[in-house]
């Protein structure tokens, strides 16, 4: 990643978002590196910026569920339940074809901006993540279940979903 782009990303993240999240990350001006945590309000803007700088190949989005763990001696105040959404973009024309991914942390009821308007390929990927993990993508034009039947109950990739949940009459 070029220093100019890193500076632009740093400038973007330094801007306070229009509606600041209730629980902002501790250090928004962290090192621009793979896997950095980005406030949800900056997610769409960051994708726009990266696309303008050649990161035009949409790679993937991966959401994960982190339920609140029990308090232990090691961690008396475990972090509350959250979802993490990692988005990966790639620059196919730059030397080395670098991929860049960042992570957005969400509270259970919080939504993340969809980037379907930037990348048409995000359509099915985000639908899949909503289907399996239950992360809501705001402004998605067609947020329906993709993999499972539309009348399915629950989101299987959540940690509280039993793997062998029965589904009558088939299993």
């Amino acid at each position: 990643m070029s220093p100019e782009l890193e500076a632009e990303i740093a400038a973007l993240l330094a801007d306070p978002p229009a509606d600041p999240p209730a629980d902002p990350p501790a250090d928004p001006l962290q090192v621009i590196a793979e896997g950095m945590i980005v406030p949800a309000a900056h997610h769409h803007a960051l994708a726009t910026l990266l696309k303008a700088h050649g990161y035009g190949l949409y790679v993937t989005v991966a959401a994960s569920h982190w339920p609140q763990e029990k308090a232990s001696r090691k961690e008396p105040n475990p972090p509350p339940e959250r979802f993490e959404v990692a988005t990966v973009l790639r620059n196919p024309t730059a030397p080395g074809a670098p991929a860049f991914w960042w992570s957005v942390h969400l509270a259970p009821a919080e939504a993340i901006d969809s980037i379907v308007d930037l990348f048409a390929g995000a359509d099915w990927q985000e639908r899949e993540q909503w289907d399996l993990v239950g992360v809501v993508f705001a402004n998605h034009p067609n947020l329906k279940r993709l993999m499972l039947p539309e009348d399915w109950q629950g989101h299987p990739l959540r940690k509280d979903y039993a793997i062998d949940t029965p589904h009558a009459p088939w299993r």
């Binding site: 190949l57 991966a62 994960s64 990966v88 993709l146 993999m147």
Partner: protein, 407 residues
Amino acid sequence: MSTDHASTHVVTPWTALTPPPRVDPYVDLSEFEADGDLMVLNLGPQHPSTHGVFRIKLVLDGEVIVKAVGYPGYLHRGVEKLCEKLTFANITPILDKNDYLAPMTSEQCFNMALEKIAGVEVPRRGRWIRTLLAELQRIASHLIAIGTFAMDIGGAIGGGTNLFMWTFRERELILNAFEELTGSRFHYNTSCFGGQRHDLPAGWDLGVIKALDQIERRMVEYADFGTANPIFVNRCRGIGVLGRDLALELGLSGPLGRASGIDHDLRRDAPYHCYDELQINVPVLTAGDCEARYDIRVQEVRESIRLSRQLLAGVPEGPICSEKPNIGPTSVRVKGAPAYVAIEGPRGELGTFLIPTDKGTQPYRMKIRPPSLHAVAVVEHLLPGNNLSDAVAILGSLDPIMGEVDR
């Protein structure tokens, strides 16, 4: 083989076709009568040309497709959830079943993610064997793509079945070599954390070279089947033109992207395994139609044959695995930050996004980046405006693997 060269690429002169204007996949058709002006036709989920179980709801105006809605998920086996319950040593054979035409690359990608997180380096001979197997797998996978595509456009009774029979005959040669090496026709489980499980048996390379000679000789016929066959050309040229911008946005890499003019190949641009020691010619076409998608696979098979010969000639000595053999479910322990690793599978960028648990024996979350899911997502953008009969040709040229789409 020299290491001091600039990797090159070949841009074949080809008529650049103008892609059609972008379509709105969510177009509202409620103003039309349900049974009057338009007709709804369900293609699939059990349809021979869908290459598995994939359903497309087509809204037709006469013969012309107005809207296409894809419904994957008929093979959703919950692989990602299953992997969260298994240990790292158990996962490799599961991933073989994801892309069942190229299991070799599937398992390599996962193990590379483990190695990246753990910071383990695979010995050169292990990497070399992985490179060789990946190229052979690419040949076998593309042979099926070519054969089934010909069957899709030729019909079961027409000439297309010939090519299907021929390419399956050639694929058996590769599968024989894999069976001799791993004991299984597919679902090999030969890649493991730290390297390879099976070493090349003595004399194995002679059989492979013989098979490669045979395949290369016959590839001439298969290339002629496309470019020298007027029926094939009429059926494919200018059909389903996919522009470069749309292909990038949809995340198409691999043969589909390169047929649309994206000059990108992870083997050359971000080398892994031993690809940095090889000179890789990446064919790129700009037409973006069904014929280009066929032609690019023929060219890639030829390139893979050339690479395989080079690799077979110079297999280095040394260990094949840097770790202890993975015996027992908890024998692999990997701790570290999450990582995304991608390799160039036969269908495009195949990636693994892996978050290990704190204990380091299981994935907390594993997301597979399937190139086929991006490929079938194209239908909503590519089918509208085409004739119904072309839908089968377009779908066949995408070569999706539903096991990988649905996981």
